[in-house]
Amino acid sequence: MDNQLIAWLLAAAQTALFVGAAPLLAGWTKRVKCHMQNRAAPAVWQPYRDLAKLFRKELVIAENASWLFRATPYVVFSAMLLAAAAIPLVAVDLPTGAIADVIVLVGFFALARFFTALAGMDIGTAFGGMGASREMTIAALAEPAMLMAVFTLSMTAASTNLSAAMGYVLDTGLVLRPSFLFALLGIAMVAVAETGRIPVDNPATHLELTMIHEAMVLEYSGRHLALIEWAGQIKLMIYAVLVVNIFWPWGIAREFTMEALGLGVAAAAAKLMLAMVILVVWETVLAKMRIFRVPEFLGFAFVLSLLGMLTHVVLETGG
């Protein structure tokens, strides 16, 4: 029973670390991006300052916003919190990992997106509707690609549980799997679309006609905005952790000793920082695409994931 308690405490600590570190990762990304583009860079903890400021500020709500608009930030944040709890960041086999497998994780994202889109529609301006419409379209196209990649992984690991899948990869050691390669690329493209990064959406834009995610949350202010921004940072981190820890889980702690956990934290930090550098390079060399090119982008992601699944069936399991 004692063991159980320690595991739950560790799980809570890992979730807290996840949620707490998400703004830091966003700050790191911004900093690297500024350096890459020859701009003066803000400090890495700038996102914490922004969040703290937003939490203190007064709420200004559009006149015809309903209760749904005010409830949405909490729903979005709790969905991301749950997703963060379910993902192994520094250690596998934690009890919170059993709350949700990858498909439930996709469900959490869908829940957050559903309410954000409704909140966008709630104000009754064209921006909100435009953002909601675009976001739901993109999500609808991203979902099959995401699921196909998940299928590829789970067919290999015989599990949709993230802990079990990472454990499987660790157990089998380094095996060159074409299916993983394709699935990795597919999932990375989906992650770019889902977290609203270039070339699908621009997180820094406030130009009315090009924004997608920002259009939905345009009317949020104060603590509501803080929660939504924070949730967005957690989401970015979730996708980053998914990509690095599934495809490169080495370093993650498998037993709950001090050394293993310390190594896990260090490995996670290093992998995430590296992943963000890659993302920044990608964002710097690409330009945002027209909205109607996005289906092609996601169609390509789907084909990659599909190829992953097919190569798994054709090449990796034998006749």
Binding site: T172, G173, V175, L176, R177, P178, S179, L181, F182, P295, E296, G299, F300, F302, V303, L304, L306, L307, L310, T311, V313, V314, L315, E316, T317, G318, G319
Partner: protein, 243 residues
């Protein structure tokens, strides 16, 4: 059923490169611009040469090294260079073709992979080679090459499709029987080269007679069609692609 983890690293690499070759076929299927299409074809040649060399190493058939070198010279450098030069000379290197339903085309490609897996199963079950699973991939490359030829209008895409069919056949020979006799391979390679040159000549003629490289225009050669008002027909027929 052998698991992937039991194979040696080289055999795993063969499988990865085979999968990437299949991927390059999909790229050819969807790529609308001429030059990237030619590059995709060249990359497929690179992968093919790599696979051949690896198979030569793993299976200990030194004559496959020659095949690999031949592939590298012909399909990675010579033919892509010919096509590239042709595209420059004909000034089509900036043109893009409009594919009507690209996603459906790609899905059809996926369907072809499943189909080739299905038809390759009996062969795979009999073969004892470590690379036997890649037979389905080679059949898929052949079939997707044909799909490229069917679905695309521009003559360059047709040639690339044809060449990738040949790639698939060569690949099938390498992975199923560790290559054809060298003399056959040399003959085929020569044929392909001749075909590439012939296509080049054909392009120039086509360009001169029709002022386009759109193979749909070849229907105008049919005598079954009404000969009346040829000017109108040439003006009205091509709705989609830009000249």
């Amino acid at each position: 059923m052998t698991s992937l983890a039991q194979l040696s690293l080289f055999e795993q690499a063969i499988i990865v490169f085979a999968a990437l070759a299949l991927f390059s076929s999909f790229v050819m299927l969807a790529q609308t611009r001429v030059l990237p299409l030619i590059y995709a074809f060249a990359w497929q040649g690179v992968l093919l040469a790599l696979v051949t060399a690896l198979v030569a190493y793993v299976s200990g058939h030194p004559h496959l090294y020659i095949s690999a070198a031949l592939t590298l010279a012909l399909k990675v450098f010579l033919i892509p260079w010919l096509l590239h030069r042709l595209a420059m000379q004909l000034r089509i290197h900036l043109e893009a073709e409009r594919i009507v339903h690209p996603s459906l085309l790609l899905l059809a490609g996926g369907g072809l992979v499943i189909f080739s897996y299905y038809i390759a199963l009996p062969i795979v079950q009999r073969s004892g080679l470590a690379t036997r699973n890649t037979i389905a991939v080679s059949i898929a490359i052949v079939l997707i090459g044909m799909l490229v030829m069917i679905a695309r209008k521009k003559a360059v895409a047709q040639v690339v499709g044809f060449m990738s069919i040949e790639n698939g056949l060569f690949f099938a020979a390498v992975v199923s029987t560790y290559g054809m006799p060298l003399i056959v391979e040399l003959g085929v390679a020569f044929d392909v080269l001749v075909a590439a040159i012939l296509f080049g000549v054909f392009f120039f003629h086509m360009r001169e007679s029709f002022d386009t490289l759109d193979v749909d225009q070849l229907t105008r050669l049919s005598e079954a069609r009404e000969p009346e008002a040829p000017h109108e027909a040439s003006g009205a027929a091509p709705a989609g692609p830009a000249r």
